[in-house]
Amino acid sequence: MYKLVLASRYLYRRRISFLALAAVALCVFIVVVVMTVMDGLVGDFKRKNHNYTGDCVVGTESLVGFTYYEDFARIAEKADYVEAVTPVIKSYVLVGAESSSRNIGAELMGVDAAGFSRVTGFGQTLHYHKNDPSKAFNIKGDANLPGFVIGVDMWIGRNEKGEYYYDPSPAATALSVTCFPLTAKGALAKAGTDMANTKTFYFSDCSQSGLARVDGAVIYLPFDEAQVLCGMTEPAKRASWIHIKFKQGTNIEEGCQKIRQMWGKFYDEHKGKDNAELLSQVSVQGWKEHRRESIAGMEKEQAMLMMMFGLVGLTTVFIVYVVFYMIISHKTKDIGILKSIGASCGDVIVLFLGFAAGLGVIGSAVGVAGGMLFLWNINRIEGWLFERFGFQLWDRTIYAIGEIPHRLDLTMLVVVTGCAILACLAGAVLPSVGAARARPADVLQVSQL
């Protein structure tokens, strides 16, 4: 009982305890804020990549694509764990305004708007056709004109708050799209001055996936039109990828494994057929694997951040160690007195570890409370800083990030608090053991006082 009383008195009656408490609170505050923001960014980035891809893809990075995709899509669609399947053409094109000779390179996605929206979050990325994504390529006023959907950053600008300047009545602006069709063997399908396919498409919508590399580089065309442009109709119809969405509750890894088995069987059945040589290049990937180039960088940054916070934790341990070393060196008399009245070495250790645990609990509670308060207001604070001083964490005219993530993860809070308490205990162990080993006759000597 006296250990509890003394530990609490040491905690709130000694100024140096408040310094240690402030150090713990500050470390916890920093970790909670940065982890929440970073986790939010990484989680958001992964969600957007998942939305963009669907659960699983079957296909090839080759611009030639692969044959028999319709047959496999039909088989996959029948599986009880598959919700929807859609083929996609992926290639590279030149796009330019009809009135200008200038053009830019872009990534082409040939999609069936309705099917692609069922498999991915494509429909929700549209601005004008969000309610009916099946009509994403329809032009208002003229249903016969071929439409295009374009990554929002290729089409319109943003203000400093990250809001796009959408035109409420957009014009059906024409863009010429040029592609070099390839044969099934990867050679140019045409020769001479007519080696490229060019067709004019009209603006129908913008897609805002939230992925900078997609919104700033991708133009979406109707699947059939894209297939023709890329020369993927002869000698047999080809597609680049088949995107698959699993039914709710299906484990993505398990679903992908089943699709792999399904593809293996399909490949064995088709490998001798006409134009089947392209099937050997096909792979089955989960969405994370498919988007690994984008996600890996973020995950590396997150891992580095974790490592840095490990160092912050070590700093906390060191601070607590120094504080306890100082406190205990000022408390040798107390230790001698306690031992002279029958306290054991274990009692002394428990007393100072209790003190450390109290420091950890209160310090991390203050840090977590401060972190929560800061995170709840982080966007308001950033808005105020922007209005007053023009400061933004990210330039919204450049980065596809809206609000600063501030959703708290309870598990993370529990882990951070636990680590802070452990760090305090770790920092206090050596000084406490040293104190416990002190001999009362030595520390109570007149010359030691």
């Binding site: 006296y2 509890l4 002279s340 009245i341 006759a441």
Partner: protein
């Protein structure tokens, strides 16, 4: 005198300390025996080993050689837990510099030895009784008005009286006092000695270390320590 009469006895106690590179022999075969109810003063010059002998009697230190028996039991044969219990229940220590804990008030300092062996629940059950005894002791040493004061708010004499109260809270069989008046003026020191005499008259066994012959005369018996041995 039969063996059973002694509450504490030390035989052939040796103790040395390392001071820098030199080994200093403080006790060189000291013998002492104290009967129940005695008030014994140990006197000697500075550095004669008085405090060292007292620390060994109170199990705050271990002898290099020799035997210390408390009520016939050899302290050398006691384990760590038994020695803690011995220091807590059998012995009450009074130091020259009072050694009160600054974070606790006077009453809390006095009842601290009673709190040491108690767990949270054990303390809950005996708290009221212990506090009552603590207040009685404070009244006995004339500090009943100072119960909630902090040590720094007390005079030297009051602090020493509080330290005596703390030494008595567990009703120890032996009170060890190390220069209890050494840090006090003569009037205040006299008050402390009167308190010790009163306790002794009530049956408390006391062993007091002092370098002052006038203080020693207040005890019932004086033992002189010189050159590490009892003369």
């Amino acid at each position: 005198m039969s063996k059973g009469e002694f509450i504490i006895e030390a035989q052939g106690v040796y103790k040395s300390y390392r001071m820098g590179t030199a080994q200093v022999q403080v006790l060189k075969g000291a013998d002492i025996a104290v009967k129940k109810g005695e008030f014994v003063a140990i006197v000697g010059a500075s550095g004669s080993g008085k405090s060292t002998l007292l620390h060994i009697l109170g199990a705050l230190d271990r002898p290099d050689k020799g035997v210390v028996r408390f009520e016939g039991r050899d302290l050398n044969g006691m384990g760590g837990g038994e020695l803690n219990e011995y220091r807590n229940k059998m012995i009450g220590f009074v130091f020259q510099f009072y050694h009160l804990l600054d974070e606790l008030n006077v009453l809390e300092n006095v009842i601290l030895p009673a709190m040491v062996p108690a767990g949270v629940f054990g303390w809950m059950s005996k708290r009221t009784g212990v506090k009552k005894r603590g207040l009685e002791l404070l009244k006995a040493v004339g500090l009943e008005e100072r119960a909630t004061h902090k040590p720094y708010q007390l005079s030297g004499g009051e602090r020493q009286r509080a330290a005596i109260g703390r030494a008595l809270i567990n009703e120890p069989r032996l009170l060890l006092a190390d220069e209890p008046t050494g840090n006090l003026d003569s009037a205040t020191g006299n008050g402390i000695l009167e308190l010790l005499e009163r306790l002794n008259r009530a049956g408390q066994t006391i062993v007091m270390v002092t370098h002052d012959e006038r203080v020693a005369k207040r005890a019932g018996r004086t033992i002189t320590l010189a050159d590490g041995k009892v003369k």
